[in-house]
Symmetry: C2
Subunit: 418 residues, 2 copies
């Protein structure tokens, strides 16, 4: 069986001037992968007829599926639809279903007047199959040409996602017969990419041709992913299980999770399994750790609340940090994070707590405590462990690194003190 | 003067399976734009020799500058360097400066053994100019061929950023003589993209050819950007100022900021100008609003701390929400957010407060209060305003929408009650 290959074209000047970050392509790639489609290239082009046509020509050259997002809005800079109409031939015709949906959306949901400009979104190329967009105004369009499938979707992420899941994937599975792709992913913390590579060298060298290993480093953690490709699903799953089991043993010391989960997801799952709760007392991360935990569905089972004590006044008033400690050791100190953690544990009445204090930059550093200095405390009512970190560079990265290392310190504490 | 055109090639299978989101391209595009370089295309390809060579050929066809990121790590899946060496000719040679930097990094910064695999990062194509990477192990490489510049950079964001700022931009400005590109950006809230388009139609139609308007909708807000292009900087700035002034009048009612700022940045600036402070009492957003505010440098001037009261127990204990109110109106109600806001104002001793409570999903909805129901209160000690929102769809989006609308409600309150 031949590999089914896709390319993704994203359209919009906003991508090329860097005003928005393309998160759509990652979602589309993941979803296509799950049904056995290999994404070979991704291209972003501007709102330009010539560039869109060049991309359609080049991206369809040696692929089966071309997914196009963006440029379908109601404004003058959205030119994707007329260009597609020109490329595939025929003319734009009013689609009655889409028109009715627009009327419904404006009257019942947006409660705004439906203007001429919006109604134009119901005019669609006569040669395409219209994919209804329950979540918004611009429908998807499915074209077939020379045995290849071209799908055009709106660029608004939640509309695109609805269309991919409900319309595009089922239709692709009917149109193509797919080989089987599977992944095994694990997450490590506290070890560098090259040191892992050295540790697993002999195992990696013996991997069969159709299994591929990737290293994905991010914020002090490294994700390892084995991808396999086959027409024999059972055999591939078996091979992957065997290789993955060996890999897990090799990196056991640094293993955070052997699922394709983030660190907050792994910590949440651990707490859920133990039926325990956690809280945070955050200074420099300003609520970001709590956000990472509460962004996961069902957070209320493991989390009750937090105190964000950005100012020393709040550390003293809400977390009973002693002014003497603040005076003597400073706000970024082992003593202060221990007092914060102990206080928030009692205040929130949880099983575990995390406390962080640090200097995220660009200002606030000193020779003794430069930007990137962070203290973290994690533990329960019986014991608190602490760790000092020295990060570097920019504020955003320091906040991310602090949150990651803090969550991992708590995760390790729970595993080791279970 | 000719336009200087660039294309960005990002290399790595992790981009094509969607395991990481490409944030590098947006940064590179922004920085190139600032010095007058127009990014025409962006392409992502896998760790494959054929695909990298195809991209180098195609992307250099009608561009002056090709920026390549990724695939320079120490592991086996990083093949960019040998492919570039093959493409530009010559062989890999050990670079003494880079070798010394690697020894320094491993001995002094990482404090890990420097292994053979890491040392290989100091072997570089003899035909390139080496761009030193102060922030990491893989240096940048600058190639020239047929009057075009090719720059290869590591994919680690903060390393790439350091190289772009310190090495690439100054060298490009020496190599090419650039026309002048300038933008004017404003942010609106509370109005749809197509309604804006209708409102400003006559103005937009009369825009001169070399000024282009883009609509950038995101989370219930729409950003409008005028981009101009000229060799006459003074004339262009004048034209942009005139057009921008007219545009601002047309959208005045919905204007959040006339700078290229985010909503949290606009609110921070407003508070800073008035020398006022704010706090948050967050239920459903779980610290995300506080994070958005504290992610901005200098947050300590306008922000002291927050109470995250995810659980009703914490709403009662820390924010003195009355159990009777919770019983009668429910946690997601106007009464509760008003009690939360009033309490946190006193507790944090700030000038303004925001309180939010809602149902983010996927669970927790009911027929009366479906997923996406949110109440927000904003105000000061004299007055609180409230607003109910009904969002839809997924948890991540509901958290984003809630934070955005809440910050805007507070911003409007401050502007109107100054």
């Amino acid at each position: 069986m031949e590999k089914i290959i896709a390319s993704i074209i994203t359209i919009g000047d906003e991508l090329l001037i860097g005003q928005v970050i393309d998160t759509n392509s990652a979602f589309i790639s993941q979803e296509l992968n799950k049904i056995g489609v290999w994404v070979k290239r991704r291209v972003a082009v501007g709102d330009s007829r010539e560039e869109i046509i060049r991309a359609l020509n080049e991206e369809s050259r040696d692929t089966n599926i071309i997914i196009i997002t963006g440029g379908l809005g109601p404004t003058a800079d959205d030119i994707t639809k007329p260009v597609l109409c020109e490329y595939f031939g025929g003319k734009l015709v009013m689609n009655e279903e889409v028109r009715k949906h627009l009327v419904y959306l404006f009257e019942q949901v947006f409660r705004r007047p439906l203007i001429e400009r919006n109604l134009k979104q119901a005019e669609l190329p006569e040669v395409c199959t219209v994919l209804p967009n329950a979540r918004g105004t611009a429908p998807g369009m499915w074209f077939e040409k020379d045995g290849k499938v071209f799908v055009s979707l709106p660029g608004v992420p939640h509309e695109m996602k609805g269309l991919i899941t409900n319309e595009v994937l089922p239709r692709l599975q009917k149109t193509f017969s797919m080989p089987f792709i599977a992944h095994r992913t694990l997450l490590t913390a506290g070890i560098g990419e090259s040191f892992i590579a050295e540790t697993i060298k002999h195992w990696e060298e013996k991997l069969p041709e159709h299994l591929k290993l990737a290293y994905l480093p991010n914020y002090g953690m490294v994700r390892l992913r084995i991808t396999g490709w086959s027409t024999d699903k059972a055999k591939l799953e078996n091979e992957l299980n065997t290789e993955f089991a060996q890999l897990k043993i090799l990196v056991q010391e640094w293993l955070v999770t052997d699922e394709d989960h983030t660190l907050p997801m792994a910590l949440s799952k651990l707490l859920r399994l133990k039926n325990k709760t956690m809280t945070t007392a955050e200074s420099c991360t300003g609520g970001y750790i709590a956000h990472l935990i509460t962004a996961i569905p069902g957070a209320s089972n493991i989390y009750k609340g937090s105190i964000i004590s950005y100012d020393n006044e709040i550390k003293i008033k809400e977390l009973k940090v002693s002014p003497a400690t603040l005076q003597k050791a400073g706000a970024v100190s082992e003593e202060v994070v221990k007092e914060m953690a102990a206080a928030v544990l009692m205040k929130m009445n949880t099983d575990y707590a995390l406390a962080v204090s640090g200097i995220m930059g660009p200002d606030g550093g000193s020779p003794e405590k430069p930007v990137g200095t962070v203290w973290v405390a994690a533990g329960d009512r019986n014991k608190l462990v602490t760790q000092k970190f020295q990060f570097r560079f920019d504020r955003d990265r320091n906040i991310e690194m602090t949150a990651t290392q803090a969550l991992n310190l708590l995760r390790k504490f729970i595993v080791e003190h279970a």
